[in-house]
C-alpha cells in the first residue's frame, strides 16, 4: 500500500496584502496522481498584471500547477479562480472557451502546428478561441516579433529562437489576461534567456496581462519579485 500523500513544502514570496485584485486565487489545492500527491498548495494569490515566477526542481509540480491554472486538468481537491472566475464552475465547453480567450500558454517544447505556416498558426489560435480573424493584430504581432518576413514559412523552416518567438506570439495573439509559460528558457543560453524573458514581459505589459513563468532555471529568480518556490517531493 502506498504511503499517505503529504503536502509539498513551498514558500510564497508574495507578501500578504500585496495583492489587491487577484488574477489567480488558489485555495487548498491538492493534485494527486494515483497514490502520489504531486502538488499541495494551501493558498496562493497573484495580483492582476503581476509577473510571477514558479520555481523549483523537476518533478516538484510546476507543470501540474500550470495545467491546473489553465483548466487542462481538474484538481483532486481545492479551488482555483482566474480573474474571479471559479474554474470548477465551468463545464467542459465553457472552460475550453474561457481558456481560449483568457489564458495564453507557452509550452516548454513550443508545440507549433507543423502543417501550418507561421501566420496560420496565429490565425488558428484566433479561430480556436472563437475570436474574429484580426489580420491587423496578427500582422502587427509578427512585425513586432521580427517574424513578418517568415509569415509563410513552416515551423520546421524556423530557427530555435524564431520558433520560440512564434510560440510567444501564439500565446498572446488573443490578448489573454493570464500568460502561462512553462520552462520557456530551459534550452537557451544567457543572452537568449534574457531576450525571451524580456519578450514575455513586454508582451504581458503591452496587454496588461498577468505573467506566470514556471521554471527550474535559477537564472530567472532575480528577475521576479513575486516568486512561488516549490520543493522537490
Amino acid at each position: 500500500m502506498a504511503p499517505p500523500a503529504t503536502a509539498a513544502p513551498l514558500r510564497d514570496t508574495t507578501a500578504p496584502g500585496q495583492v489587491e485584485r487577484a488574477a489567480v486565487d488558489v485555495r487548498d489545492l491538492v493534485q494527486v496522481f494515483g497514490a502520489r500527491t504531486v502538488l499541495d498548495l494551501p493558498a496562493w494569490r497573484v495580483g492582476r498584471g503581476a509577473h510571477s515566477l514558479v520555481i523549483g526542481p523537476s518533478g516538484c509540480g510546476k507543470s501540474t500547477l500550470l495545467h491546473l491554472l489553465a483548466g487542462l486538468i481538474r484538481p483532486s481537491r481545492g479551488r482555483i479562480a482566474i480573474d474571479g472566475q471559479e474554474l470548477a464552475a465551468l463545464g467542459g465547453a465553457a472552460l475550453d472557451a474561457f481558456r481560449g480567450k483568457r489564458i495564453g500558454i507557452v509550452l516548454q517544447s513550443m508545440h507549433l502546428i507543423g502543417a501550418l505556416n507561421v501566420r496560420d498558426n496565429l490565425r488558428l489560435a484566433r479561430r480556436l478561441a472563437r475570436q474574429p480573424p484580426a489580420p491587423e493584430r496578427i500582422a502587427a504581432l509578427l512585425a513586432e516579433l521580427g517574424l513578418a518576413r517568415l509569415a509563410r514559412s513552416r515551423p520546421h523552416q524556423l530557427s530555435q529562437g524564431e520558433r520560440q518567438r512564434l510560440a510567444i506570439a501564439r500565446a498572446v495573439v488573443n490578448r489573454p489576461s493570464l500568460i502561462l509559460a512553462d520552462e520557456p528558457t530551459s534550452a537557451l543560453d544567457d543572452a537568449n534567456c534574457a531576450a525571451v524573458l524580456d519578450l514575455l514581459r513586454r508582451q504581458a505589459q503591452a496587454t496588461g496581462a498577468t505573467l506566470m513563468v514556471a521554471t527550474h532555471d535559477h537564472r530567472l529568480a532575480a528577475h521576479f519579485a513575486h516568486r512561488l518556490e516549490l520543493e522537490a517531493r
Binding site: S63, L72, I73, D96, I105, L107, H111, G114, A125
Partner: protein, 416 residues
C-alpha cells in the same frame, strides 16, 4: 484559419498518402459510375429496340436467340420460315401489325435486312439524306453504316453472304444506296435496309406459284454464280416476323397458338429481354462488387491513414486544446478530413467514370452503337456520392474518437 482550412493543410502535409486514398476511392467510384452509365444505356437500348414489338415469330430454336437476332440484330437467326406460314400469322385476327425481316447477307459486317417501310417507321427513323428504298436492290443505310463505309446516295455496293462479314460476295447483284437514315441510337443505325425481294433474288428464292421453267431460264441468265453457291431454287422464306397485338388477348393466346399449331416459334421480347438483362446483370453485379470492394478498400485506407495521422498529431491536438479547442472541435477535424478525402475521391471517380464512358462512346464501335456517353447523369450517382461520403465519415470515426479522447496533460507531459 477555419477548421476546413486546417483539415486541408493536414491533407496537404501528407499529400502522397492522401493522393493514394483519393486514387483508390476514385477508381472504385469511377468503376461503379461506368457500370451505372453502361447498364442504363444497355437497358435503354434494349427497351428502345424492343418497344412496340409484342411477339417475334421465327424458326424453332432458342427463343432468346430469336429475339437477339430479330430485334437486336446481335445473334444468328434460328433459321428461316416459309413466307406462306408467316403470312398466315400476319393475317391472324389477334395481330394488329407485322413487320417481316429477311436476313442472310452483310455489308462489311453490317446486316442487310430485307423488310418493309414499316420497319424504319416503327422506330420513328428520319432520313439524313436521300429517300427510302422503292425497288429491289435499292438500299437505305443506317447512320453508322454510312459513317463507317463512307457510302452515300448514288453509291453502289455488293453484299457478302452470311451475317458476320467475310463471306462470298454476291457480285452480280449490286445494291444502290438511295438514302441514309439519321442517327437514331437504335438498331437501325447499323443496318442496311432493302426490299425483301432483294434478299429473295440474291438467294435464289421464288414464289411457289412461279413457273419452274421460267425460273430456270431466269436463273441461267442472271444467277449462275449464286445458284452454284446457294443450290437449287427455294420457295420464298423470311427470317422472322415482328408482331404487334391487336388487344391484350393476343398476349394470352397468340404465343400458345403459334407454338402449338405451327412449326414456328413465338418469343416474347419482354420476357427474353428480361432474361437477357438478368444474364448480363450477373456479370455487371460482379464488376459492381469489385467497384464496391475498391470503395471499401479506400475507406480502410482512409481509416488507417487518419489513425496514423492522429497518433502523429496527438501533440497538435493537445496544443489545440490549450488554445481553446473543445473536444467536439477535435472530434470534428478528422471527420472533416475524411469527408474532404471522400468528396475528392467521389469527384475524381465521377470525372473518371464519365470520362471513360465518353471515350468508350466515341472510340469503340460497340460504345457508339449503344449511344454510350459520359455527358449523361443518373440519379443513382447521387446515392454513390452519398455512399462515398458515408465511407469517408465512417473511416474517420475511429480517428475522431481517438482525437476526442486525447489526454492533454499526459500528452504535453510526455513531450516536455
Amino acid at each position: 484559419m477555419s477548421l476546413f482550412g486546417l483539415s486541408l493543410a493536414y491533407i496537404r502535409a501528407r499529400s502522397l498518402n492522401a493522393a493514394l486514398n483519393l486514387l483508390l476511392l476514385g477508381l472504385g467510384i469511377g468503376t461503379i459510375v461506368l457500370l451505372i452509365l453502361f447498364s442504363a444505356r444497355l437497358e435503354d437500348r434494349l427497351t428502345r429496340d424492343a418497344r412496340g414489338i409484342d411477339l417475334v415469330v421465327g424458326a424453332k430454336g432458342s427463343p432468346l436467340q430469336l429475339i437477339l437476332s430479330s430485334i437486336y440484330q446481335a445473334d444468328f437467326p434460328t433459321g428461316n420460315i416459309p413466307l406462306a406460314e408467316a403470312e398466315r400469322w400476319r393475317q391472324h385476327p389477334l395481330v394488329e401489325s407485322a413487320i417481316p425481316l429477311a436476313l442472310g447477307d452483310n455489308l462489311a459486317g453490317f446486316r442487310i435486312v430485307g423488310t418493309e417501310h414499316a420497319y424504319p417507321e416503327h422506330y420513328g427513323a428520319t432520313l439524313a439524306a436521300g429517300r427510302l428504298w422503292q425497288a429491289p436492290f435499292e438500299a437505305t443505310i443506317g447512320a453508322r453504316v454510312a459513317a463507317d463505309t463512307g457510302l452515300g446516295p448514288g453509291d453502289r455496293f455488293v453484299g457478302s453472304h452470311g451475317l458476320g462479314g467475310g463471306g462470298a460476295e454476291h457480285g452480280t447483284h449490286p445494291y444502290t444506296v438511295v438514302g441514309v437514315l439519321a442517327p437514331s441510337a437504335s438498331v437501325l443505325d447499323r443496318l442496311v435496309l432493302t426490299p425483301i425481294e432483294s434478299v429473295w433474288e440474291v438467294h435464289g428464292m421464288i414464289a411457289e406459284e412461279h413457273d419452274d421453267e421460267k425460273h430456270e431460264q431466269h436463273a441461267e441468265e442472271e444467277h449462275e454464280a449464286e445458284e452454284a453457291a446457294a443450290g437449287p431454287v427455294r420457295p420464298l422464306e423470311i427470317t422472322s416476323l415482328l408482331l404487334r397485338y391487336r388487344s391484350p388477348l393476343g398476349a394470352v393466346q397468340l404465343p400458345r397458338l403459334v407454338n402449338q399449331e405451327s412449326a414456328l416459334q413465338a418469343a416474347s421480347p419482354a420476357l427474353e429481354s428480361a432474361r437477357l438483362l438478368v444474364l448480363i446483370g450477373i456479370g455487371l453485379d460482379m464488376v459492381r462488387a469489385f467497384g464496391l470492394l475498391l470503395v471499401a478498400s479506400a475507406g480502410l485506407g482512409v481509416l488507417i491513414a487518419l489513425s496514423n495521422a492522429m497518433q502523429e498529431r496527438r501533440y497538435d491536438l493537445a496544443v489545440m486544446r490549450t488554445l481553446g479547442a473543445s473536444r467536439r472541435t477535435l472530434f470534428a477535424e478528422p471527420l472533416l478530413e475524411g469527408l474532404i478525402l471522400a468528396a475528392g475521391g467521389a469527384l475524381f471517380g465521377l470525372l473518371l467514370g464519365h470520362g471513360v464512358a465518353e471515350l468508350l462512346g466515341r472510340l469503340l464501335p460497340a460504345g457508339r452503337d449503344m449511344g454510350l456517353t459520359g455527358l449523361a447523369w443518373r440519379t443513382e450517382e447521387l446515392y454513390l456520392v452519398a455512399l462515398a461520403l458515408g465511407v469517408g465519415l465512417l473511416a474517420a470515426l475511429i480517428p475522431a474518437i481517438q482525437a476526442y479522447r486525447t489526454d492533454i496533460a499526459a500528452t504535453l507531459a510526455s513531450r516536455a
